[in-house]
C-alpha cells in the first residue's frame, strides 16, 4: 500500500488538498476481487476442514474443523505433488531454453519482421488450449512426424512410443505455455537500448561478456516474469497429464480433478488446492528473493 500513499501524496501536491481519487479508482477492482476471489477462497478454506455428513449421503459434508484432512490428502498424493513440481520445473526450463534465443532474435535481429514474428509467437493462442494439446498428441503419435525420423536415426528404439509418457506431458506443457515465456522475455529484451550494448563493446567487453554483464542482467525482469507465468499454470495443470500422460504421470491437478468431479470428495480436493497454492507461493517468494528482483514485481 506504500505506493498508494505515495500516489495520494503526489496527487496532493498538485491540488493542494487530500485526494481520494486513487482510492476511488481502486474500488471496482477491489469489489471484483472480493466477490470472485476472496469469498470463494474463504468458502474453499471452510470446505477443506469438513467431514462427511452423518446421513452418509454422497457429496454431503458438514464443518468439523478436521485439519487432519490436510495430512491425509498430502500423504495420499505426495507422489503427484512431487511430480507436479518436477514436471513444471522441467517445462519451465525447457521453455526458457527455447524462448530466450527466440526472443533475443526477434528483439535484436529480426529487422522489419519483428511485429510479424511477435504475432506468430502468440498465434497458437488463437486455437483452444484443449485442441492444441490434442494436436500435440497427434504430432507425437505413431503416424506423426516426430517418431518416424527419431526411429530412423536410432535415437529411440523401434518399439518406443512418445505418447502416454512423461516426455509427452512435459513437452506438451512446454509447448502450451511457451508464449507466456517468450512474450515477457521479448518485452524486456526489446526495451534494452542497443547503445548500452555498444557501450559495453566500447568498454572492452567482447560479445559473450556483453551478454553476461549487460544483456542478460537487463533481461532479468523478463526471465522472472516468464518463468513465473510458465511455472505457476504448469504446476497446477491437469489437461496435459490427462491427455498426453499415463496413470503413472498423474499430477496433483489430476488428483484434485478426480476428487472433486468423480469421487465428490470436496474436503480433500479443497485441502489439496490449498496446499498447492501455498507451495507455489512459498516457491515463488524464495525465487523472487533469490533473483533480487523484488522491486520489479
Amino acid at each position: 500500500m506504500a505506493f498508494l500513499q505515495a500516489a495520494a501524496k503526489r496527487a496532493n501536491s498538485f491540488t493542494g488538498k487530500p485526494s481520494r481519487l486513487p482510492y476511488l479508482l481502486l474500488l471496482p477492482g477491489l469489489a471484483f476481487l472480493s466477490i470472485f476471489f476472496i469469498l470463494p477462497i474463504l468458502n474453499l478454506a471452510a470446505t477443506s476442514t469438513q467431514s462427511p455428513a452423518a446421513s452418509g449421503e454422497i457429496g454431503s459434508y458438514v464443518q468439523t474443523f478436521q485439519f487432519s484432512n490436510y495430512v491425509n490428502a498430502f500423504l495420499e498424493s505426495r507422489e503427484q505433488f512431487a511430480r507436479s513440481f518436477i514436471y513444471a520445473t522441467l517445462a519451465t526450463l525447457l521453455a526458457l531454453a527455447i524462448s530466450y534465443p527466440l526472443a533475443y532474435a526477434i528483439a535484436f535481429k529480426s529487422g522489419r519482421w519483428k511485429n510479424l514474428l511477435v504475432v506468430l509467437v502468440v498465434a497458437p493462442f488463437f486455437t483452444s488450449f484443449l485442441l492444441r494439446t490434442i494436436a500435440w498428441k497427434q504430432i507425437l503419435g505413431e503416424n506423426g512426424p516426430v517418431v518416424g525420423p527419431l526411429r530412423a536415426l536410432h535415437l529411440i528404439g523401434p518399439q518406443t512410443t512418445l505418447t502416454a509418457s512423461a516426455f509427452a506431458v512435459v513437452t506438451g506443457m512446454t509447448y502450451n505455455f511457451l508464449p507466456f515465456m517468450t512474450l515477457p522475455l521479448y518485452a524486456s529484451l526489446d526495451r534494452i537500448d542497443p547503445r548500452t550494448l555498444e557501450a559495453a563493446g566500447d568498454l572492452y567487453a567482447n560479445g559473450f561478456t556483453t551478454f553476461r554483464k549487460v544483456t542478460f542482467p537487463l533481461s532479468l525482469p523478463g526471465v522472472v516474469a516468464g518463468t513465473l507465468l510458465t511455472f505457476i499454470p504448469a504446476a497446477g495443470d491437469y489437461v496435459n497429464a490427462a491427455i498426453l500422460g499415463n496413470p503413472s504421470t498423474k499430477m496433483v491437478g489430476n488428483v484434485i480433478d478426480s476428487r472433486f468431479f468423480r469421487i465428490v470428495d470436496y474436503p480433500t480436493a479443497a485441502a489439496l488446492s490449498f496446499m498447492l497454492m501455498a507451495a507455489i507461493l512459498i516457491l515463488i517468494t524464495v525465487y523472487i528473493r533469490r533473483s533480487g528482483t523484488e522491486e520489479l514485481i
Binding site: D193, R195, T196, E198, A199, A200, G201, D202, L203, Y204, A205, N206, T209, K213, V214, P217, L218, L220
Partner: protein
C-alpha cells in the same frame, strides 16, 4: 588486451574513409590526421556524417573503404573492444542496472584489473561527483549522467576519447560550464579528445583544431581563428559566424593585394585571403569588422559609400545595423558601443569602411547562401 590503452599511441589518421549506405555516401573519401594530445572538434550541421565518422573510429561501424591508424597500428578491422578508444555516447548509454561505481569500473574490470577502487575514486573526484558512487544512473540528473559517462570513458586512459555531442542534452548554462570543465579535464589528463558538435561556438571555444564537415567531406580544417578569419568556401564563411558576401570582379593586382570591383567601387583584399578561381569573386567581410560613419566622414582603408540605414537594433554592448547599398543588397554591421557616440538612426546615409586585412575573397561561382542558417535548418 590489458595493455590495449598503452600499446598504441600516436596521431589518429583516417585515410580516404568512405561509408556508403544503399544510395549515398554518409562519409565520402575523408582523410584526416588528428595530433596526439590535441582537442579536436568535428563540426558540422546535423546529418553531415559526424556520428558515422566517430562510429567508424570506435569500431561500431565498418568503413566501406579506407583505413584508420593510431600511430602505426592499423585499427580498421579491429573489434570495438580491441581498440584503445573510448566513447562518450550522445545519450550517455550508462548501464541502468549497475551502480555509478560499477559503471565507471566496467572498462577496468573487463581488462582484468582487480583493484579498481582508487582509480574509480579518482575518476569520480575528477568529475566532482564522489558522493554519487552508490546511486543508479536513473537517479541522476542529465548533467550528472553526462559527467559519469565521461568518467567511465576517461578512467581507461584511451589513446583517443570520442565525444558525440556530449553536451547536446544540457541547458545552455550547464553547457557553457561543462565546456570549460571538459577543456580543463582534457588538459589535466592529456588525452586526445575528438569532440563532435553542431554548435560552432562550442567547437570554437573548446578545440585546438576544428574540422568543418559538410555532406560527408571535410570542408576546411584549421585553428578556430584561421577558419573564422580565412574561410575558403561560402559554406565555412556562413556556418561559422555571419558574413556579408558581395558579388565582385578582380580587376587588378597590386603587390600582395587584389583590387576588386564591387558594383563600381574599388576595394582590396590580400591575395593570401583569396580562394577565387578566376576574376569572379564573392567578397566577404564580417559584420563586426565593418565601421559605420555618416556619409560625409572621411576614413582611410577600404570604403563603400552610398549606404542607407534601413534597420537599427540596439543590444547593449553593440548596435546592429542593416545598411542598404546602392545595388540593393543589405549589409550587416555590428558596432561596439564603446565610443560614447550615440547610434546612427534609421534613414541616415552612411559609408562603410574596414581594414583590408579583415576581408576575404571566395570563388564567385558558389551559392552565396550555402551554410547559412536558412539553408542549415532545412
Amino acid at each position: 588486451m590489458a595493455d590495449a590503452s598503452t600499446s598504441s599511441r600516436g596521431d589518429l589518421k583516417l585515410t580516404r574513409i568512405t561509408k556508403s549506405y544503399s544510395d549515398f555516401n554518409a562519409v565520402d573519401d575523408l582523410s584526416l590526421t588528428i595530433k596526439e594530445g590535441s582537442f579536436f572538434a568535428l563540426l558540422g550541421p546535423s546529418g553531415c556524417g559526424k556520428t558515422t565518422t566517430l562510429r567508424m573510429i570506435a569500431g561500431l561501424e565498418e568503413p566501406t573503404a579506407g583505413s584508420i591508424h593510431i600511430g602505426t597500428t592499423d585499427i580498421t578491422t579491429m573489434k570495438p573492444y580491441q581498440r584503445p578508444v573510448n566513447t562518450v555516447f550522445q545519450n550517455y548509454a550508462l548501464f541502468p542496472h549497475l551502480s555509478i561505481y560499477e559503471n565507471i569500473a566496467f572498462g577496468l574490470r573487463r581488462r582484468g584489473i582487480k583493484d579498481v577502487k582508487s582509480a574509480v575514486d579518482k575518476a569520480l573526484d575528477l568529475v566532482e561527483l564522489p558522493h554519487l558512487a552508490d546511486r543508479k544512473p536513473n537517479q541522476l540528473s542529465g548533467g550528472q549522467q553526462q559527467r559519469i559517462a565521461l568518467a567511465r570513458a576517461i578512467i581507461n586512459r584511451p589513446a583517443l576519447l570520442l565525444l558525440d555531442e556530449p553536451l547536446g542534452a544540457l541547458d545552455l548554462k550547464l553547457r557553457r560550464q561543462m565546456q570549460i570543465e571538459l577543456k580543463w579535464i582534457q588538459k589535466e589528463v592529456g588525452l586526445t579528445f575528438v569532440h563532435v558538435t553542431h554548435d560552432q561556438e562550442e567547437a570554437m571555444t573548446m578545440a585546438d583544431t576544428v574540422a568543418l564537415m559538410h555532406d560527408g567531406k571535410i570542408e576546411q580544417m584549421g585553428s578556430p581563428a584561421d577558419l573564422y578569419d580565412n574561410p575558403k568556401s561560402v559554406f565555412v564563411a556562413n556556418f561559422l559566424g555571419q558574413s556579408n558576401l558581395i558579388d565582385g570582379k578582380i580587376v587588378d593586382s597590386d603587390g600582395d593585394n587584389f583590387v576588386v570591383d564591387l558594383f563600381g567601387q574599388k576595394v582590396s583584399v590580400l591575395k593570401s585571403r583569396s580562394s577565387a578561381k578566376d576574376a569572379s569573386v564573392l567578397f566577404g567581410i564580417r559584420p563586426e569588422k565593418l565601421r559605420i560613419q555618416p556619409s560625409d566622414a572621411d576614413k582611410p582603408g577600404n570604403v563603400l559609400t552610398g549606404g542607407r540605414i534601413v534597420d537599427v537594433s540596439y543590444i547593449g554592448v553593440s548596435t546592429q545595423y542593416q545598411v542598404e547599398m546602392p545595388w540593393g543588397q543589405e549589409i550587416m554591421v555590428f558596432e561596439q558601443n564603446d565610443d560614447g557616440i550615440p547610434p546612427l538612426a534609421k534613414g541616415d546615409g552612411v559609408r562603410l569602411s574596414w581594414e583590408p586585412i579583415f576581408s576575404f575573397a571566395l570563388d564567385g561561382h558558389e551559392d552565396a547562401t550555402a551554410g547559412s542558417e536558412v539553408e542549415v535548418s532545412e
